[in-house]
């Protein structure tokens, strides 16, 4: 599969972005690219079909977080980073040690 095209954006001189800053920039540009390129594609048909089936659909951009430890895998999404990580932490807490039968 061909590598997806990427863009590089030089940062202002002297700026030392943190990991969080970079994630934020990346997420922002991804959101813009998604909105610019995906409007009018399959997702709109899916949305219409769901609404025809009686679903009241709300949608929007959100944060997504994943955690992996060995075979345990959890993922959460939410409108805020706090909410997303709170949900991820709750799910991760359910991956407790094995349990005797």
């Amino acid at each position: 599969m061909a590598k997806a095209p990427t863009i590089e954006i030089p940062l202002p001189e002297g700026v030392q972005p943190s990991k969080l800053d970079l994630e934020l920039l990346k997420a922002t540009f991804q959101a813009i690219a998604t909105l610019r390129t995906e409007r009018g594609r399959e997702w709109e048909e899916v949305l219409c079909q769901l609404e025809r089936d009686g679903w009241n659909v709300h949608w929007g951009l959100c944060w997504h977080a994943e955690a992996k430890r060995g075979e345990d895998f959890e993922q959460a999404s939410g409108k805020t980073l706090d909410g997303t990580f709170a949900e991820l932490a709750q799910l991760a807490r359910l991956d407790m040690v094995g349990h005797c039968p």
């Binding site: 709750q90 807490r93 359910l94 407790m96 040690v97 094995g98 349990h99 005797c100």
Partner: protein
Amino acid sequence: MAYSGRARESYQNELANLRDQGLFKEERYIHAPQGAEIEVEFPTGNPPRKVINMCANNYLGLSSHPEVVAAAHAGLDHRGYGMSSVRFICGTQDIHRELENKLTEFLGTEDTLLFPSCMDANAGVFEAVLSEQDVMIADRLVHASIVDGMRLCKAMQDTFKHSDMGHLEEKLVEHQDKRFRMVITDGVFSMDGDIARLDAIVALAEKHDAMVFVDDSHASGFIGKTGRGTHEHCGVVGRMDVITTTLGKALGGASGGCVSGRRELVEMCRQRARPYLFSNTVAPVIVSGALKVLDLISATTERRDKLETNTVYWRKLLTDAGFDIKPGESPIVPVMLYNAKLAQDVARDLFAEGIYVVGFFFPVVAKGQARIRTQLSAAHEKHHLDAAIAAFVKVGKKYGILGLGKNQIIEKYGL
């Protein structure tokens, strides 16, 4: 062919990894009914040998009790082998309702619904009674089936530190904005054999307007003065909102489970719990056997009392011999070895000495918490326990672990 060579190879590699990590589970073939002494073929292909069984959930020794077997035979004769239906189509017999009524009376609740297993009961109950407006707050060491049930439910999931009432109260306060709060716990925890502080949990739940759920699978039939379970032991009979339990351990040991509790919650399960709605009815032969079990344990506490005596005796034998055991009063008595290989080696040597036990280690228990879980039964006689301790001492001496505490065992064998 859809099952490609690539798929086969992938699964073969995964299974090989399990073997390499010592996590591969092998079944041992038992050539006898369940009991204190059984004949086990192990390794596979070897002639069966008689061993003392110290790892069954046969707490009351009723798995092969002649009266239970006779009742099951009678059930087979009078109600047939199978029902070929789920409950709500044409799978409910008079004896199903009779058993539900008897369980309700025995557990001191308002109503009961049978499930194919307690695993199914736990998988179905939360989704049936809670929604996204609610929160489930579970002890961090609850049984895997509860975790699975919580994952199937849209209510918010949260946990509190094991048996930590302060932490539970914090969580109850934190979630006051939710429509309903449900505190979730095991009655007796299967790993350590410790008993939930249901009296404190119920008090907190009443203070903060929450429901209480307990899985009493390792308690029903023998914990509490008359064996009603953890709620009897803790003095909160009638104050539980949901009890799930199994017929697959003390109560005959065959299969089946139930949700018992507040009438409306049980009815919600009857209407909505998917494992109830979409799996076959509990077979008449099992229902008939379970009815007899409830008759037997309601008539006398003799078997429950014998189990208690055996438990006290076995705990004393292990302690006096210098083994490091988890303190408590339940018939689950973990002998702590901490090191996974040591647990496997000790279990293997005990089998060679005629004692059937199993080593538990990560991921079944936390890393560094490897152990041998011994379980008592009312079917055990004193001579069984005396023979078992003789073998434990012999093997304990071989590995030089008698009288050693946690740190000393870890120092000697590592983690």
